[in-house]
Subunit: 330 residues, 2 copies
């Protein structure tokens, strides 16, 4: 599988299941799957894996934060469809050597994320396992359309992102350095360990029909932008100068010998929303951000040619933005 | 966790999530969770784990059979609620060293089970992992009640089981012996590697309101009977003589130094249905079995006292039936 790579594996899976029943409003390839009941509101379904040694290490991630994150990353997939999460299933494989305290703390964090986001755990499975394996499935109400997919971006649309992509990657770098500087680093670390899914933003973008395509920023801005571009058959021109950073971010990144822009473009695990929106709606997008007190930046434009994503750097140079970021099996 | 045990872990999880929204028709503690959309048919949701070295070994399980089984065990959970499976999500963690052929065969088996049972894969997740790690979530239509739970057995009800519990355990024993005897052993091995979920039976029992409680036999007859008894607050008296075996089963079990009755009571992974039914409906249960060409045996009676499950052996002796079977973390 190392020769195949994750994208090819997903493509492999997609090709193995070609038919799509009319009741499946969103199937393989979006952040969550939407199904229409015989009548009534469509339900969104999604599942995500968190595996020890792959997605997290127990020496940098506490059990409680892990519980929070296990649910939050799934809620983010529902948010990226413009839906409202409602139900969760938790499948948990745990080494028998772990303590009861670990389980308790994990469930406390999971439960806290569930309460915060009005989501109810309604089932699951447990098993012994050689390392900690977590699979969470979430069901939620979809917008009437079935949700905002990745394939709707149109030339001329603006490319928007919420929050500050890169904060989670800086938090991880700080944790790995083994020398966090107390309060000053707490913001980056929190962003990495207990990400906040942008559920209200996603839902409002769907309700007001402001976004033509949307994805959550889980594998790095560059890779997730490339996914929208590929699914929509368009290109994108990103303006590096519009990718901004919170106070103290750039200095801290450099102190760890990391390039701030690289952290933003390739870091991943931010669980912010990336979306495209036609120019006549930009004013409304801005007002929505203010009302939700959520930072929303326009960082580029959708272009006609399907030549992928380019980035314009400070000196007016344009280069291809390679879709780097986290890819499994490589 | 080895001190806690699986049942306590599930109880722990249940207690961490005490509230139940009125729309949750079946939550933690049944084979699948049922939720009512704002209007329309309730949807069943379930998730199950299959972990290499815990649930299967790659030297006794081929990739294609594994793919079939990964979906089948989840479909069985839907069957045990009396529901109709419709959608599946597949979360797959795989060692990077596996071949593409493994993936292809796995997906072929999964896809075959999906087609056979009218279930559509609508999403999922993939990741690298230290061992093969599979989590499948399935959604399905529930009966109007939300499904047949474990808690409805009443004193005087008959205890029924479909098929021949123990065949899967005999199949595993044959595989582990390393000396399968061709055609003669094929039936037991098939039962272990590619179990057939009893979807039509479960659905008909629900539609005709023939069952008061139901569970699928995944962890052994004794343990799964104890689960119905505990959830219903009743006892059960099982008649050992009514637990019957197919031709050749007993001789083959003994050739491997295994007790046939122990295989049936503690083997697990049969994915047959265990259910209770009031005496006025036994005739209809029998007719249903004939119509579906599915063997259904009455093996005991629900009793008033909540003293667990007892078994009456050949010589008229009655002993407690310890809820042995597969329990994780022990």
């Amino acid at each position: 599988l190392s020769e195949l790579g994750e994208l090819a594996i997903v493509e492999h899976i997609r090709k193995s299941f070609p038919t799509s029943h009319p009741s499946v409003l969103r199937g393989i390839g979006d952040d969550a799957a939407a199904v229409r009941g015989r009548t009534g509101t469509p339900l969104l379904l999604t599942v995500d894996l968190l595996i020890e040694g792959v997605h997290f290490d127990l020496d940098t991630t506490g059990a409680r934060d892990l519980g929070w994150k296990a649910l939050a990353v799934n809620l983010s997939d529902i948010a990226a469809m413009g839906g409202t999460p409602r139900y969760a299933l938790l499948a948990l494989g745990l080494p028998a050597s772990l303590t009861e305290g670990f389980l308790r703390d994990f469930l406390r964090g999971f439960s806290q994320a569930a309460r915060t986001h009005d989501t109810e755990l309604i089932g699951g499975d447990t098993s012994s396992a050689p390392v900690v394996f977590i699979a969470v499935a979430v069901g939620g109400d979809a917008p009437p359309s079935g949700g905002i997919g990745r394939g709707g971006a149109r030339p001329g649309d603006g490319v928007f992102v919420s929050g500050y992509p890169g904060m989670s990657a800086l938090g991880l770098a700080v944790l790995k350095s083994g020398r966090p500087r107390g309060k000053a680093d707490a913001r980056w670390i929190r962003s990495h360990l207990t990400p906040r899914p942008q559920i209200a933003l996603g839902r409002q973008l769907a309700r007001k029909k402001l976004a033509t395509a949307m994805i959550d920023c889980s594998d790095g801005l560059a890779l997730d932008l490339a996914r929208i571009a590929a699914a929509s058959g368009v290109g994108m021109e990103i303006d590096a100068a519009s990718v901004s950073f919170p106070r103290g971010f750039e200095a801290r990144a450099r102190s760890l010998k990391r390039d701030p822009l690289d952290l933003a473009l390739g870091g991943g695990e931010d669980y912010e929303l990336i979306f495209t929106s036609p120019s006549r709606k930009w004013g409304e997008v801005e007002r929505l951000g203010r009302r939700l007190r959520t930072r929303i930046r326009r960082i580029g434009t959708v272009t006609r040619k399907s030549a992928g994503v380019t980035i314009r750097t400070g000196k007016g140079r344009v280069r291809n933005l390679a879709p780097f970021g986290y890819e499994h099996f490589r």
